[in-house]
Subunit: 184 residues, 2 copies
DNA sequence: AACATAAATGAACAAAGTTCATTTTTTATG
DNA sequence: CATAAAAAATGAACTTTGTTCATTTATGTT
């Protein structure tokens, strides 16, 4: 039984339904429940793959920019995030569209992947924010900010989605932040 | 038939189900479909109320800060947003948890409410960014950034939710942005 | 009162998640 | 290889939820 993300890519998270996944995988509905606790569990497994890929993309941007100044590095990460989201829209959307029921929380593996992303931003800030606590906080703030811009843009909550416009917004934000940072 | 947001407030968007709404409103299931196209339509109606309330809270912050410098005004708006989200968690979450199916788009009334929020931020930037296009873009970027921070924080995607920490992140971001803005 | 129109109703259907007794396949043992 | 035990796969059946619509009830008009 091989579970793929085709249904998310070609349709959306809403298409990840027990019977369709089963057909797709060439097995019976019940088999899914032998492997996964429930559909939430399966969706998390699929999203973990995407999260890992996102991590790889950001890691590349992080590594490739290692000799550049902070502002450029932050911009490289933000751009990489935006491009990944834009090129893998449905997959990326699935990550944030999926909500665990009330009490439940994601497995450690999933959280680790998340924290790796933050760590990349943190690393770019080592020179500017020597204090660990402060750096940790700032990195998360920056990550969340860029995420917010990309997220609302792709959801078309900021108007029609225009990559150029979103790019400008990211540049504006990261630019301001970098400038604000250097004169702290 | 009176549809309220009690189910969202006390439980979550997931509890907005045809039969429960009907019981709540003291009517038959079918009656809901005489008033609303479908449940999406009903959810949008409920979210519009919340969006209006959010608009009122931000408008107050905007008006109360009218004599202050840009940085303080942006901070006042961001704080108001954070407080509203924190004090109306389920209602606020419902706004962003709800996704229309593929092609569908929200009614004009809903979009107007959204645009009113952006307009408040834009207004704070009139002095610093005289260019209309640039100002429009920057306002949306800032709004989305603060939204991103609040959103991931309340979703506990940045670690455990600690209001103090989120507050610091907002201060960091808006502080950087304001500083970066003034020396443009 | 008689009729027409509008509103409300809830049984019935469809779609989707989940369960689990049964069947099939695999592995282990003599 | 035969046989039994264990593991994996199966899909019919059940549950829950959105939605429809023929029927009933309420309201307004002449």
């Amino acid at each position: 039984m091989k579970i793929g993300r085709r249904l998310i890519v070609e349709e959306s998270l809403a298409s990840v339904q027990a019977r369709r996944i089963a057909t797709e995988a060439g097995c019976a509905v019940g088999s899914i429940y032998n492997v996964f606790e429930d559909l939430d569990d399966l969706v998390i497994a699929l999203n973990t793959v995407t999260l890992t890929e996102l991590g790889q993309a950001l890691t590349k941007a992080h590594d490739d920019s290692r000799t550049e100044p902070t502002a450029a590095r932050l911009m490289a990460l933000a751009e990489a995030y935006f491009h990944f989201a834009g090129n893998n829209r449905k997959l990326w959307r699935a990550i944030f569209e999926h909500h665990l029921p009330e009490g439940a929380s994601a497995p450690p593996e999933y959280r680790d992947d998340q924290n790796k992303l933050f760590a990349l931003v943190e690393d770019c800030l080592v020179g500017d924010l020597p204090d660990n606590v402060e750096r940790r906080s700032a990195a998360r703030a920056l990550f969340a900010s860029v995420h917010g811009i990309v997220s609302l843009a792709l959801d078309r909550k900021l108007g029609e989605f225009e990559p150029e416009e979103t790019h400008r917004q990211i540049e504006f934000l990261v630019g301001c932040a970098a400038r604000g940072l250097s004169e702290k």
